[in-house]
Symmetry: C2
Subunit: 424 residues, 2 copies
Amino acid sequence: MTAPTITPTVTPTITSTSASKTIPIAPIAEVPTRLEYPGFDFNITARDPDSEGRCGVLTTPHGSLETPAFIFCATKAALRVATIDQAKAEATQIILANTYHLLLQPGADVVERLGGLHKMTGWQGPMLTDSGGYQVFSMAHGGVSEDIKGKRPRFGTSRLKVTEEGAQFRSYVDGTKFTLTPESAMQVQRQLAPDLVVVLDECTAFKDSRDYTARSMQRTHRWANRSLAAFATQHDGRQAVYGVLQGGVYEDLRRESAEYISQLPTFGLAVGGCLGKDPEELAEIANYSMRFLRRDRPIHFLGVGGIADIFAGVGVGMDTFDCVVPTRLARHGGALIKQAPLFRLNLHNACHRGVPEPIDPACPCYTCRTHSRGYLHHLFKADELLGMTLLTLHNIRFMNDLMTSIRVAIRAGKLAALKREWLG
Amino acid sequence: MTAPTITPTVTPTITSTSASKTIPIAPIAEVPTRLEYPGFDFNITARDPDSEGRCGVLTTPHGSLETPAFIFCATKAALRVATIDQAKAEATQIILANTYHLLLQPGADVVERLGGLHKMTGWQGPMLTDSGGYQVFSMAHGGVSEDIKGKRPRFGTSRLKVTEEGAQFRSYVDGTKFTLTPESAMQVQRQLAPDLVVVLDECTAFKDSRDYTARSMQRTHRWANRSLAAFATQHDGRQAVYGVLQGGVYEDLRRESAEYISQLPTFGLAVGGCLGKDPEELAEIANYSMRFLRRDRPIHFLGVGGIADIFAGVGVGMDTFDCVVPTRLARHGGALIKQAPLFRLNLHNACHRGVPEPIDPACPCYTCRTHSRGYLHHLFKADELLGMTLLTLHNIRFMNDLMTSIRVAIRAGKLAALKREWLG
């Protein structure tokens, strides 16, 4: 795709074809049928002959990135224990921040007053924010999201209510009531000012019934329309929007959602929602999600960062991935290594005591160039926070180098061989 | 002083002139009367006309530093939340590590196996270790030292016993009994392998009586002899040793200690011990400690890092300073600023919310070049560890720039003007 203009192939509809009942939504007049993204572009530059895998260049007003790429999570506008320059030195192309967290703290108005996320964080490259939906719902499901692992919320985890209007919830910071609507999600992301924004969706859980998943998916579609309508009113070329595909573990719902989302005038597409109970199911869902999704847009696999999962996603044509695991693992003493099936080394283990070798002598990261496993082990035993920083840098480089080798393999038509080399 | 050889002007004596009783000590035969430090040098390059202030160049096998200089504390062989390269980028010349902490964790043998402190930490510049004595005694006095602020010890803080032999104490890590003797302190520092090492001393407290302070000082002198004897047996030119002056708040004891320590064949001299209850008393003690100390050696002011205290020390001829405060303050949200009398900004304060200006627009540190006060405030409110790192970098640069401006002032003969500019 060379033209930055996205024209939907079908006029967006606002009723669902699913069996569940249709709820009245915002008037059709508000939903744009065509949106242009002049400062953005997505070019597919190479294709793997044996799979749907592809290389591309995704361009934003803050520069380009080569895909497939990994997006690192600066949840609260910080990579936790690494500076922006350290992440950049480890070949990072793109980062994301979470609308939900920033909405609560410091607030979108404060980020706006500080000049938006780029100015505030010092990150000058491409940046994405999610819509906030995932965190609202994951917190309602009992706390799988990052913040409540790191810090028990003082004000409970329950979502108050999900209505057609949006989601009401309480702040884990100070108990304040918030309502996140498709419109406010877009407004907040406008204030945060990343390059790439995401429509509000509801992320259903594995335990949700087929019926609930279907009804939620339809609401997500209606929310997508309302998100786009809100986006269009503020669109000035500085941001491009991603639609989100839902449908849980149900093949027909995934198809319905893929077809629906594909016809909306978004710049990119994101595959979200419940991806099953194991890597096999995830690969299957990724596969049938992608089968009916249009392929000329950049496609993001939301919250996915396992090595096998990335290979599964790349193989069916996904372009970007994000997950907190590489950086969170680092803070818990885990270093990523090229060794299936766990791909990790626990630096807390006594076997690293006094070992003068680095995590990986071939790794070009700052940590492997500078420090031994014995030193890292000491830092974790002595509760020195530097250990977290050093492993974060290693894990960032590890993910970036993995994505580089995937791009090289696709260009050489050797993705299958690379996958075997990694996964056995 | 241009010759690296240090020849004592008086043959070391091993009895004290103080009124307190003399305790038998190690045979005189073991105490060296002359030690050479071929890889080390200390040259005085400029003198302030109105004070004892001086500039110098202190050379070690790992490079030179310009004095007056600040030594940053990498207590457990880590600058807590900053990498060695980040500290270097903020103009750091020299760091220190604490023998006491490293003896307990990971153990001197592990540091040795990892190639010594330089190799282990990646720091390639000049490095000092203390003798461990300060921590042993400060923990006995109820926990003023850094570690027990950061983390309550699991195994109590009491020193078990101080005898002529040395100090017995329990590890706060696992309860193991340790005995630190003048000989073992030198042996451990040999294994840690910094450039500059310090003899074992007892650091007396403000509450200690004159009688105890005097007896302790005499023991410290005997320990200095034993430390030097132990140092001489392993001396191969890679390390140079500092003697320590004690004597508490008592002018006559300080004089006695200064005269005693001055005649020992150490490379450098350190002023330690209780420095009174306020900055005025500290300045007074610094003054009469220095009056009888030989001036041709580099002189270190142990544990001193307050702005006024540094000016007091520089004014009486001290060359290096160390203190955990600049980096510890950073971890608690405090940024150093040029504003008497507190010289600090608390980034936790709500007044920094949304403020787009950096801590100091004129500061060349990474943090001030990259981030606003509003961002730093957000990081501390959101418990993001990056805030600690960013303030650490600022405070390191602040101290290094303060020392640079002191050196510039001494060379220009304007130390008094600079002091007025800072302290009013």
